[in-house]
Symmetry: C2
Subunit: 341 residues, 2 copies
DNA sequence: CTGAAAGCGCTAACAC
DNA sequence: GTGTTAGCGCTTTCAG
């Protein structure tokens, strides 16, 4: 591979001139500029960005840490992150924590030593340690989907969150408006803030409507198809099964749909199901899923924009974006028609 | 951030000694080793891998280029790539081509100038140009899922493919064995080799069984839910609709399931559906999807292993892995019960 | 077993 | 408008 010196020699100028042509960092006489460009082209010169980064202390690379990039919701967020990063001239190094906090921390070390310019983090649970590592280095971080809460305001970290509680509220209100009273909830892992907030919304809606809450109607899953399937079976086996389900993510809702079908019941005739996320699949389930839409891709893009902004203005106070959710009515929720089975 | 010189000074040794302690590149007296280790720990020293890479010409980073990381099949492959890379001490830079060949080529340039040690490529279609860029640089490449064909054997590129034709054969034979004769096929984009191979398997199975092929029963989708939905509607609207469907990927099969349900027909009573990929969701559709399983995650892991091997033995002749597929029988295929509708 | 010196390819400060 | 110089932080000969 030719170096910048090869180009310089060939074009009869100094390396710094070539550098300035490449980076438009100061004026170069038009004819020399063209000559340099021509030589670059001729030699097939590609700058070594490693060397450039070492010197300029900018790698134009972000680290992206996710619990699991194959989860459709995160996959969509990742799509937004990658797309916006590309548009802004950044590359993305991807790391999956696989829900193992240790792995998350290990990745943070790796990313830091690779000198990434910033990190986009959906933390698996090691909030405190992760943020300690990060802020010790003073590297910009945007936390996505999950935040450590107000206690961490001093960390000056940007966040992009969605209105989880509002989503739980909207979904449950919708079910109530359809006449349902025994509304169950399949939650995500309780330790996760977004999941907890969705359940909060659910509780609020019930309280608002004066419907007493049967705690046995809340069962926890872990955001996978399988867990939604199992939780739903548990619910159906109860002496007084619910007539509607608010499921805290679409993956589990799909599992629930499957369990209901296998139990010989119909959606929405016997049971209504509302999900959360509006993953692309949700438009094609049987029946099509009514759900709370989160702008996943936009979440990713916003996060990147925050990061890019912070790099150009490091001293800005931390910014917290909260994106709205909305109810998408499809075919999985119907009016209450009396206790089933 | 402390540098290796800070550590050296503090420990009273030379930088090269510290380097050797870190990289175990030659023996160091036990007590000095411990002292160095201690100082490193004390200062919270983290090597700057940029500098290291510039010098050693190894970045321990792979580039991963996919058509779309949110497609569940690729998402699963990516999971395998990321996991195995991590296990082997590599990071992964992710790039989505979004089915735009130009973007794929642009990403290749970026990855090369970031000096990645190798590239894992699921090409969007710019095979020839992509490989030209890559081989000109002599950088190791593993092509996944799609290969340019025998004509490119001189490029000495490793590949990991799956038995696509065999999959088409197995699925169609299964449908035939259930008594179906009018079996339609929803293919992927014709220009893509894997899709074409699956259709080849489908044709072979029909020929094998002496069932004449009605070309009108083959309709092309583009591997998305939506296209499967539309293709299925087209098929159902035909004067003599098929009694079974072989759909070239699960995403489209899900779309087909939805279309069939909306047409008031039942699976598998009226129509049988077989998919391809066995994405995680396939176990939870309504009804559960019979499909051809590809070991997606393993595909990713194998690809990384090939790359790692090649880095340690660059002169090895190119290796081509072909992973087997298998039929997973679930609930979406049933015996032929006479013409439907 | 250890140290000194050179240099990976680039950019930035300073001269002219 | 252009060139010279130094050096980012590390590894790797080469000496000892």
């Amino acid at each position: 591979m030719p170096t910048i010196h090869d180009v310089a020699r060939q074009a009869g100028v100094s390396a710094s001139t070539v550098s300035h042509v490449i980076n438009r960092t100061r004026h170069v006489r038009e004819d020399t500029r063209l000559r340099v460009l021509h030589v670059m082209d001729e030699l097939g010169y590609q700058p070594n960005r490693l060397a450039r980064s070492l010197r300029s202390r900018r790698t134009h690379t972000f680290g992206v840490l996710l619990p699991n990039s194959a989860n459709p919701f995160f996959a969509q967020v990742l799509l937004g992150i990658e797309a916006e990063s590309y548009d802004c001239g950044y590359s993305t190094i991807l790391g999956n924590a696989n829900d193992e906090p240790d792995r998350e921390l290990d990745y943070i070390d790796i990313l830091l030593s690779k000198q990434v310019d910033g990190i986009l983090l959906v933390s698996t649970g090691a909030y405190r340690q992760a943020l300690d590592l990060l802020t010790a280095r003073g590297i910009p971080v945007v936390m996505i989907d999950r935040s450590p809460g107000e206690e961490y305001d001093d960390f000056a970290i940007d966040t992009v969150l969605t209105e989880n509680a509002q989503g739980g509220l909207l979904a449950t209100r919708h079910l109530l408006a359809l006449g349902h009273r025994r509304i169950a909830c399949i939650s995500g892992p309780i330790r996760l803030v977004p999941s907890a907030r969705r359940v909060t919304g659910y509780r609020e809606a019930l309280a608002e409507a004066g419907v007493p809450l049967d705690e046995g109607l809340i069962v926890a899953g872990d955001f996978t198809h399988e867990s939604g399937y199992r939780a739903c079976r548990t619910l159906l086996a109860r002496p007084e099964p619910p007539s509607a389900l608010f499921v805290c993510n679409d993956l589990m809702a799909v599992g629930a749909l499957c369990a209901i079908h296998e139990a010989g019941l119909a959606v929405p005739e016997h049971i209504s199901v509302a999900g959360f996320d509006d993953i692309p699949l949700a438009s094609f389930t049987v029946p099509r899923l009514t759900t709370i839409a989160q702008p996943a891709e936009e979440v990713g893009r916003r996060a990147v924009r925050l990061l890019v902004n912070r790099l150009s203005a490091p001293e800005t106070p931390s910014r917290h974006e909260r994106l709205p959710v909305r109810l998408v009515e499809r075919d999985s929720c119907g009016p209450f028609r009396g206790a089933n089975v």
